[in-house]
């Protein structure tokens, strides 16, 4: 199967129903994307598919064929992702950090389609990303900070 991951073409030989999460982590060794629940309940596994935040633990790899997958390893190469990471660093958002790849992937997807999200927009986009360390207040503040940094444009890495 042919996949486009972070702008690179990758050839893999896996069952077509295998979730993208395990392709990334266990086949390609890209461990930045995390496993948290396996049931689309926690958001730890969030990646972007053509710029949309999706839960990779329930997305079969066949659904990703022909689309651009962007992961935490490359989100910093997008203008939005770069601003989001900078805001995360400025506010020291992460604690244990385990949920943060997913938080950043969801937040970047939100900001790419909505440069000035309201609190309600943030709630809607981020409610699926659980953080057991309770960084929610800082995640919200960092999204607003990233949003306030000049104009934002661009989708995932192609």
């Amino acid at each position: 199967m042919d996949l486009m991951i972070n702008g690179e073409r990758r050839q893999i030989d896996v069952p077509s129903d295998m979730p993208v999460l395990w392709v990334l982590r266990d086949v390609l060794g890209m461990t930045g994307t995390k496993f948290g629940c396996g049931m689309s309940l926690c958001g730890a596994c969030t990646v972007q598919l053509d710029g949309q935040a999706i839960r990779s633990c329930v997305t079969p790899v066949s659904a990703a064929a022909g689309k651009a997958i962007t992961t935490i390893e490359a989100i910093g190469a997008t203008p939005v992702g770069k601003k989001v990471q900078a805001a995360w660093i400025a506010l020291d958002v992460p604690q244990c950090g385990y949920c943060q790849s997913g938080q950043i992937m969801s937040a970047s997807a939100l900001l790419a389609r909505n440069a000035r999200p309201t609190d309600a927009d943030i709630d809607a986009a981020m409610a699926g990303n659980i953080c057991r360390c309770g960084t929610y207040g800082r995640v919200r503040a960092a999204i607003k900070r990233a949003a306030s940094e000049a104009s934002i444009s661009g989708r995932g890495v192609r």
């Binding site: 896996v14 069952p15 295998m18 979730p19 395990w22 982590r25 266990d26 086949v27 060794g29 890209m30 461990t31 930045g32 994307t33 995390k34 496993f35 948290g36 629940c37 396996g38 049931m39 309940l41 926690c42 730890a44 992961t71 935490i72 390893e73 989100i75 910093g76 990471q85 995360w88 660093i89 020291d92 958002v93 992460p94 604690q95 244990c96 950090g97 385990y98 949920c99 943060q100 790849s101 950043i104 943030i122 709630d123 809607a124 981020m126 409610a127 699926g128 990303n129 659980i130 953080c131 057991r132 360390c133 309770g134 960084t135 929610y136 207040g137 800082r138 995640v139 919200r140």
Partner: protein, 726 residues
């Protein structure tokens, strides 16, 4: 005033291979020579930068490596401990490289446990002075080395950002250049620590050192380990504790592409595969018949019944002031209540996992653990290898909360790996994680108080029924039948009441393993104590803050945080109907004073929504105020999840919850505004990782009472409220 401390601890210095300065710093002097010899040998056989008995390592390239004796699980300890070292060592945070300490109780032990353990909100308390002293000693030697090479008085030299400068002549040498010379010097007997007023780092909101790797996917957690030839396994342990595999049909599982091997343990089965997807599918395809064993018929009501019955007999007295019995008999009014707190799961974001490679005569383990030496000992025990044949590599922890103080998942992974001819990473599914936790136990508390005619408390008795976790976990600390953990937040009652009795009735339930949960004993104690004091305020028709205040005459620090929280929390200001404010105060052996005002809303359908949480915190000397705030925010969120919804229940020996859909935790759209106000003083540092969690349940319950008039005496609050509304 400068503090001069004589060197109670040993500081050992050896010249490592490559001529680097290697500072081994120990809390105890025993076996110093042996440890040092080991370190040298290790350092000699590998690179100079590999020396397991050091907090500080400065090779000639001038880099500064700090070895972290406590593990990073989000609490910011790598940054806080580095600040302690860097402050005295005179290096800038940007110069520092961090390393996880390997397991070594002698070198890296936490004085509160006597072993290398990260927990009980103890890291800064335990290492505040030792790490400063380690830094100061290294700095003094580097300065002495510089002074000697210029033939000048060390007092005329100054260290700053990794460079020693001779002030009068402006000559300077870097730590890297000085490292070899400093290593040859005698360790000074006395070392002068900085006067706190000269701190340039401690007390500042320095940036966390672990943030960059946590925003780009490079941070390495245990679950991220990758090794050549590594296989992935997932496991199903007996759904009932004490159960066994009765029959196993492997056929269908073996047919799943990518499945390599099925490992049958007496109490569980693991599927070993090329990747987690195959392992999960293989596990689902297994046909396992369990023999559920002796706990097969136990359900939550049976456990509660056992606790209730045990609560009728007296327990071990943990505190006794005055004569509660006669004070109660003579009281104008008697108030009695029973409180209950359920089993709780930790649900760290990173599910339990451990990677193990068992070779012919040695074993290597990769994991994230709060108890490194126990993790290594567990592997040694399973393999039968001596300790020195077990190498343990620690990682960042995707949450600890007390769960990773246990090493059950390490033991299990080694048992599986023993049967596999390759390195194997054992990863629990979330379902396995929720259903095979080492749970916060169920607790059942009986409260009695006597009030005089003016409503002033004259007697207070508190009987706590639950397990003695300390007896299992730290048996050396379990003296005279007293579990210091189970009662800590009850014994440390600050209220000035003339007659007080606190008892613990030890009652163990074999149906679930129980252990420490963020906030430990204080969490359930504080819910009971701070709810009950609210009941007394109501019984004497007084305002909850004013009532507490009158009883805190001997605790000015408690009054200060209470007043601060009340002011910032707009205590007494009107609220729309359906809303209420609650207050709770916390003090315990963590030495931190914390007052919280919670503002909640209960809507028409009875759903609780937390709007605002205000905390006032006095944790003594603050190392990093931003990390203190982050920890309180974190603790509060964890506490809200537990208090509103957290509950593990049993049916026929099986845990009924399995994943986030039925073990509900707080989400972003439900998170309140949290404000943290810090009190600054020079008192000894207090713990900060857990107080935010421990104080929250009572504040919420008291706020729900204010909003609805319903007094909830049972957690979780949301279901207790639903019951009360019927």
């Amino acid at each position: 005033m400068m503090t001069t401390v004589s060197r109670r601890e040993f500081v050992t210095v050896v010249a490592a291979a490559g001529g680097g300065l290697l500072l081994g710093y120990r809390a105890e002097g025993a076996q110093r020579a042996a440890s040092t010899a080991t370190a040298v040998a290790t350092a000699g056989t590998t690179a100079a930068s590999f020396a397991p008995n050091a907090f500080i390592r400065i090779p000639p390239d001038g880099s500064v490596t700090l070895v972290m004796p406590q593990v990073e699980m989000g609490q910011g300890v790598y940054t806080a401990l580095s600040m302690l070292l860097a402050e005295e060592l005179e290096v800038a945070p940007g110069q520092i490289r961090l390393e996880h300490a390997p397991p070594d109780d002698k070198l890296y032990g936490n004085q509160f446990f006597g072993e290398q353990m990260t927990g009980a909100s103890s890291s800064v308390r335990a290492f505040y002075e030792p790490l400063r002293r380690a830094g100061a000693t290294a700095r003094a030697m580097l300065v002495a080395a510089a002074a000697a090479s210029w033939n000048v008085d060390p007092a005329s030299c100054r260290a700053h950002k990794g460079v020693v400068t001779h002030t009068p002549t402006r000559r300077s040498l870097t730590y890297g250049v000085l490292a070899a010379r400093a290593a040859a010097l005698q360790v000074p007997d006395k070392v002068t620590l900085k006067d706190p007023k000269d701190f340039t780092l401690i007390g500042t909101p320095a940036k966390r050192l672990d943030t960059p790797g946590k925003v780009n996917g490079t941070a390495q957690f245990g679950i991220d380990v990758r090794l050549p030839g590594m296989l992935i396994a997932t496991v199903a342990a007996s759904p009932v504790l004490g159960g066994k595999v009765a029959r196993l049909d492997e056929q269908k599982a073996k047919a799943v592409p990518g499945v390599r091997q099925i490992v049958r343990l007496d109490d569980g089965v693991a599927v070993v595969a090329d990747h987690m997807w195959a392992a999960k599918q293989g596990l689902a395809a297994l046909d396992i018949r369990w023999d559920d064993g002796p706990n097969a018929k136990l359900s939550t009501p049976d456990i509660v019944q056992g606790l209730a019955k045990a609560s009728e007999s007296p327990g071990v007295t943990a505190r006794k002031d005055g004569d509660p019995e006669s004070a109660l008999a003579g009281a104008a009014k008697k108030v009695e209540a029973v409180y209950e707190a359920p089993f709780l799961a930790h649900v760290t974001m990173e599910p339990m996992n451990c990677t193990v490679h068992v070779r012919k005569d040695s074993c290597e383990v990769w994991t994230g653990s709060q108890a490194l030496s126990r993790a290594r000992a567990a592997a040694a025990e399973v393999t039968g290898f001596p300790l020195e044949k077990v190498v343990l590599h620690n990682h960042l922890l995707g949450g600890g909360f007390g769960r990773r103080l246990e090493v059950d998942y390490v033991t299990q992974a080694v048992r599986i790996a023993k049967e596999v001819n390759a390195p194997v990473k054992v990863v629990w599914t979330r379902e396995e994680d929720v259903q095979h936790d080492v749970y916060r136990s169920y607790y059942y508390d009986r409260m009695t108080a006597g009030l005089d005619a003016r409503g002033t408390p004259v007697a207070w008795t508190h009987r706590i029924v639950g397990p003695a976790i300390i007896a299992r976990y730290l048996p050396q600390a379990f003296k005279d039948g007293k579990d210091i953990d189970a009662v800590n937040g009850a014994v440390q009652l600050l209220y000035d009441i003339p007659a007080i009795q606190v008892e613990h009735v030890r009652h163990e339930e074999p149906v679930l393993n129980t252990g420490f949960w963020r906030g430990v004993g204080v969490t359930h104690n504080n819910f009971v104590v701070e709810s009950f004091i609210d009941e007394l305020a109501a019984a004497s028709k007084q305002d909850p803050v004013a009532f507490r205040r009158t009883l805190l005459g001997k605790s000015p620090r408690a009054v200060a945080v209470l007043d601060l929280a009340a002011r910032e929390g707009r205590w007494g200001k009107p609220l729309p109907s359906g809303r209420g404010r609650g207050v709770a105060l916390l003090y315990s052996d963590w030495s931190t004073y914390l007052a919280q005002v919670a503002e909640v809303e209960v809507n028409a359908s009875g759903d609780v929504r937390v709007h605002r949480i205000v905390c006032a915190v006095d944790c003594g000397r603050i190392v990093n105020p931003d990390i203190v705030k982050a920890q309180i925010e974190s603790g509060v969120v964890y506490g809200i999840s537990g208090a509103l919804w957290g509950e593990v229940t049993l049916k026929n020996g099986r845990v009924e919850q399995s994943n986030f859909h039925n073990y509900r935790v707080l989400r972003m759209n439900e998170a309140p505004q949290i404000e943290v106000h810090l009190v600054r003083n020079g008192e000894a540092p207090g713990g900060i990782g857990e107080p935010g969690t421990a104080v929250t349940a009572a504040a919420l319950s008291n706020a729900i009472y204010a909003a609805t008039g319903k007094r909830l005496r049972k957690l979780p609050l949301q279901s207790a409220l639903a019951l009360a509304a019927r």
